[in-house]
Assembly symmetry: D3
Homo-oligomer: 277 residues x 6
């Protein structure tokens, strides 16, 4: 139990961080697993960011939920190089799950916790323009362009935008896009101050399995080239490096820790890997 | 084939209607069946309304798609007095279908046709506050309040809002609401100039099965009391009568006719039943 | 008689044009003869342009009316190279006729047809700064500068500006200027999307007396140099070429055809000569 | 010759008046005769008012010029009770003279003196809606309504509006209206601080032919009832009394005196008759 | 030392308070003694309030500093009923000390701590209009009117206004006013959410010398009538009661406790006496 | 005594100057002596400038008052090269006198004369960032940067800012700065049209002791290098030359002459030395 005096002290010590990030946009990406464990804490953190003057944007995917729903509907999931082969019927499931289940869930919880959230997908506006990543993968897309106007319209009115990682192709077709990638592109388009990827690991690990607390751009690229990161961490590190084109700092942090977002933003001791120029 | 001179004449004859409705909000509700047949024409009409200076808002339900998906998922649909008993798992299907399938579909098509659409559900914002209609029906809701701010924010920026008929309860729970009702309440909250319900029938019929072209409020109430309207037409007529509290004219028109929306708005000859004070 | 379905079709087919020109300025010049025949149709077209989101500006001269009034007042008209020698007393007639008769007439008709028009001359503001074209011609002017502010002030408030082709000299003297020239300079100053000159001929004719539907800048210059256009068409073509400095398309169209303005703007089949870069 | 110190003193003594009328609208009406004698001085005064922060609006008639032009065109002038019987051909002359000659003249002079003036007639917008005063007088009108929007649009941009005393009837016809009346109605519609009628007499005279410097509303009405004012002074006094409905002070001042407008506004010693509530 | 997790917890627990007071004005009055002890903490609290979205206004007096400077200048301090008799030379000292020493000190410290502060006195604008309280007291004033415009201009730009408790009389003379009174009147004029008086006592005490944590308006008046509060607490309680005319809550809190302002605003446990309607 | 006609003439002759300087910022610096003699006239002039549409900013020092107060407090004044050695206790006196006495005095007088003035010091905002000029001089500062935002905020609302020549150091310490220098830097930061230094001498004198009415930049520099100006005129001329970086004209005028400010601004005959590029 924290005493009144200490309580005041904590608030006062947060001041320099509040000042530094005042009015700045923070793009936060949550994945299926990370958000699952600490959903309430993480969303409460987002609401707090909003009220102390930052502009958080939440981006999400939802791989596990998509797989589960596909199974219920008797659709066989097929992966190549870790990417879900997305035919038209799978894409329908992706949309239903991300736009019709994960987004509304996040929105309803944010609203209940005192934020004012509005769900969107990249098709809305359209905000995220996509094209096929690889013909063999079907409707898996890559981002061609982000039109941030609908997002900024909502931010200006005080809403927290919640964005599902779906894009609209020039062919009028929806595309399934990696959520880390969407978050990075949105962060660039918005000129965000930070991109923060919430994961279910402690961060990027070095060869001794210790968390790398700070990683320069060149070192990050080298790790990718040398295959020193694996699996789902590859698109995360790529997203961070891409974001650095316009965003000063990108973070991969451990979403399993309670309030890791607040700790990252309001204390000197970071809680994962920070990627910088 | 229309000749150039006649073509010009048609445009000129539309002028008085364009002037009359300039800058005014039109809430258009489409149902599963009506939209199915003439989706492209109807959405093209909406885009045209936007470009000649009106502010269309699209509200939709999606009964048949919900039933189909429920069946695929092995959930038994149960109705009481024509209303879907909505337990928690059914509500999940409702959200997935309306927010994750019907809305994105309408949005993608509007975007392809040249409009700029953004999908929303009543949970976003939240825009539509709901409470249970009848404990026996589970998560079937009625509208307690509409907060039009997110809708007007989008209208002001030139977007066409597409609203799924779902509300958020004070209990943080989503509610399934009749789309005609949502459309009427939204029209009232926005101070719309018209509420237009697109159906798959020619309009309200009198005892001789002829379309009633104009219906006064008192007569409308009498028809309801005397049971002279049945089935799905009951909530439609009730929605029209409710809208009249703030909206001067409400229409029940035949969405199976091509461009029935344009014909209603831009010609003297209406295409269904107009309900007026 | 056009049927309802065709009627809707025509409106829908106008949509791409409405979208393309939304919010853009159209400078339309009418001459004494062209406007005479189809005044109502042409002005109705202008009102329609306004209501579907364009910003029309009407520029006019009034040669025949000036000649008629001069005769009534016993003033001898004298022309050199087709230009009216304008002494002080003739200039008084020019002002009276253009600002006091032609402009108010156009304004009153536009107002009656549902537009909101405001008449101006280049002296107002001043909007058009002029200097003598040729000392032998007296108060015949050429445009030195256009200050578009009074025009844009009216456009922003929803008015249709009606501008008489008179300029104000640095000497405080009014100058009589060719209306095609004024229209071109105003179109440049406003960054218009189109300059449209309504005439009483079908367009620019080639050596076989067929209408040239599209004319490139270089070809236009060559026609002028080689004397392939004559009489009143010379300043019209010069005005079009001048406008191309800032305006993408300039048109010389046949104002004797009903609604030629609408046909030009809302159909693929143009109705005269389009001059392009 | 005024010395530097006295010069400064005069400026400083004007301060209280400048402060009092800062940002306030002054409707000034000039007649044919008054303006003729001291045109430059009066218009210079108007420009000064604009630059020290007031919002002057100039209203004018032009009886003598209309009569002169009618004669040149061989049109017989006919008066009943001092009002010009105005048939259609006379109305054309009225428009040509007021809108095409008197207004442009005032505008050009104001522009030359450093103001930025824009000429308008009541048909523009339309600003002044009129209806027939008396069927026997033809197109002589009375004011039904003033729509001040075009005037305020110009005032807000720093322009001096110059308004010819013509109105537009519901029948699309122009009407000839007494300029004193138009000035009064415009002053009321604008919520002006003062209505100032510049005449060619010293003011309203009492039975001993002395100028009445201040006149209460009730006394003004009594003078009219008892026939103690005659001729052109009748509509002037009526205009002042009408203006008092919304305007605190109305003035009838001697325009033959140089800078009478400045003297009225910037010194304690008025220069004619002030009519007050 | 507070651990990271607790640290996050404290921030999250502040959220409801941050939300409740978002965008609201807080008028905080500091006295000479209270501010002396905990100046840095108190001013840091104010800066924090600003950054989490509130609009703090700081009002101050400076009795002890005035007395000290008067002594240095050999001016005899004289008090009647606890009020400083203020002749012209004393008033000069009051102005010098409050506007020239206390205010700049607070401003410089706030600026150093990361706020952006601007010092003002009630003479600036003028913001506080005063008149003599009692002829025997000389230039001691009471507040006649507060013109909040200069304060709101600064608040809107993100500045923290620091207001010295001096007013300007209609006689052009400065007046020395009780700072509690000024704070209350300013809070009323700004429609503040709270008036907070920082003192060097624990709050209002009851007959058993225990702090009254909450005091209703009627009870507050009764305590004053019955003489149950004494000395400097009398104007404080009067100020609170006056503020209640427009401000929902007024607080008398113990400024000697570190960060008492934060504790009052961000925790459930108040730190003094709250006066409510 | 000036007659009415001459009075009007003077106002009219001021028009070109009023027009030229409309909406432009004028930074006026007054010194202790100059302001003393003609305080009322000078401040009345400032109020007039405001009302005829200029944006005056008043900068002041207060050497004599500081010396007097130092003496009363028994603090020994020490000067090196004409600059007051400023230890911490002297700085306290500087702040008290400038911010607490001279500024409020000017503000109260301006308010009484009909202006709306707000006093500020460079510490407010902070507006003037300073650093030590010379370690031997203690807290004597030079300007590092001017942040004009608080000044423009006040100007936009119609206030006359009154700025004491004090700056805030990065060390949180206040610095005493020459008022001519502050005025020049503020004029540059505001993009002023003129810098006007009111002195108690007729202007810059040439070797024959005649006032130099106009001085080019190069000539001004040469006079400084050759030692042709002495004493307090050195910083004044330096300030003028510095201002020329952004301000077209800088003036050193004789504040002992009544209304010298008005004479400078509103007549062709200047009243001192004008320094130009």
């Amino acid at each position: 139990m924290v005493e009144a005096a200490e309580r005041a002290q904590v608030l006062v010590e947060a001041l320099p961080y509040i000042k530094r990030f005042h009015g700045q946009t923070m793009v936060v990406k949550v994945g299926g697993n990370a958000i699952g464990e600490r959903k309430e804490e993480t969303l409460l953190d987002l609401v707090l960011l909003r009220y102390v003057g930052m502009q958080p944007v939440l981006v999400h995917g939802g791989g596990p939920e998509i797989t589960a729903m596909s199974q219920r509907l008797g659709i066989q999931a097929e992966f190549r190089n870790g990417l879900r082969v997305t035919d038209r019927q799978t894409m329908d499931v992706v949309k239903m799950v991300l736009t019709g289940k994960v987004s509304p869930d996040l929105v309803a919880t944010l609203n209940r916790l005192g934020g004012q959230a509005v769900g969107m997908s990249g098709e809305d506006g359209p905000t995220v323009i996509a094209e096929p990543l690889d013909p063999e993968l079907g409707l898996v897309g890559k981002v061609v362009q982000v039109n941030p106007e609908p997002i900024t319209a909502l931010l200006e009115r005080g809403y927290i935008p919640v964005l599902a990682s779906i894009g609209l192709g020039y062919d009028g077709q929806a595309y399934n896009i990696n959520a880390d990638t969407v978050a990075a592109e949105v962060a660039v388009a918005l000129g965000a101050a930070k991109l923060i990827l919430l994961t279910d690991v402690p961060g990027i690990l070095d060869s001794s399995q210790r968390v790398v607390t700070e990683l320069g751009r060149a070192d990050g690229r080298r790790m990718l080239e040398r295959g020193e990161v694996q699996g789902g961490m590859i698109p995360k590190l790529e997203a961070c490096l891409r974001a650095l084109d316009a965003v000063p700092q990108a973070h991969i942090i451990d979403g399993r820790q309670p309030h890791s977002l607040l700790l990252e933003l309001f204390t000197e001791s970071g809680v994962g890997t920070m990627v910088v120029r």
